[in-house]
């Protein structure tokens, strides 16, 4: 492949794009196992929350779990991502993510106080959707 690139700019560009995509995925993608761990942890968190309600210990435990999870994930990666505001494309993606998060929570938080079973049901449905997506991605 590399020897062909010397004389063929089409192949050079295609190979550069492939390698860039590979590096980007290595820097940002969640391995299937990590996605499953996060989904299981979310379900456990929801279960504990339903059983005993919100407590300081639960918040500290969750934050400690997230810190360990992301540290392990970061240490296992072979590439580190660029800052989300580093390029126009990533800035647009960041803005889209924040807008979506704000919009979803603007609906979900009032639901949580006004119709808790519906809010919890939606959360579990979102997690099930995420689980299906994770497993489908693994088999793709």
């Amino acid at each position: 492949m590399l020897s062909n690139m010397e004389t063929n700019p089409h192949v050079e560009l295609a190979e550069a794009d492939r390698l860039a995509r590979k590096a980007r995925i290595a820097a940002t993608d969640y391995p299937t196992s990590a996605s499953l761990v996060l989904i299981v942890a979310d379900v456990v968190l929801i279960g504990v929350f339903i059983a005993v309600g919100l407590s300081a210990g639960m918040i500290v435990g969750w934050l400690a779990f997230l810190a360990i999870f992301h540290t392990v994930l970061r240490l296992r990666r072979h590439a580190r991502p660029r800052a989300p505001w580093a390029t126009p494309t990533s800035r647009r993606q960041l803005l889209k993510t924040i807008t979506l998060d704000v919009a979803v929570n603007a609906v979900w938080i009032p639901l949580f106080f006004l119709a808790r079973p519906v809010a919890i049901g939606l959360l579990l449905a979102a997690l099930a959707w995420s689980l299906v997506g994770t497993l489908k991605y693994r088999h793709a």
């Binding site: 492949m1 590399l2 190979e15 980007r24 820097a27 590439a79 660029r82």
Partner: protein, 100 residues
Amino acid sequence: MSVADLDPVIHAPKRLGAMAMLNATEWVEFSFLRESLDVSDSDLSKQMTQLVDAGYAKVRKSGFGRGATTWFGMTAAGRKAFERHVAALRAVVDQAPIPD
């Protein structure tokens, strides 16, 4: 943009591949670069030294002893040079017929 805008430091296929990976990330591990580019340790070291010497790449090490890992990142000058080189390459492609 024309052939004259192609950067001789980046133009070598292995270095172009390495630059594409560095441009897509903040830091890339030496071993990941080596496997992705399908080159030997010494070859990659040689290619990366040229990029570092040209001011296009930067290097840092993490860990100690046998667990030490070498990471490469791209400098601001490297990003500009890479974008210019890729734009010139695309201009060449646009002017050239698609190969069989």
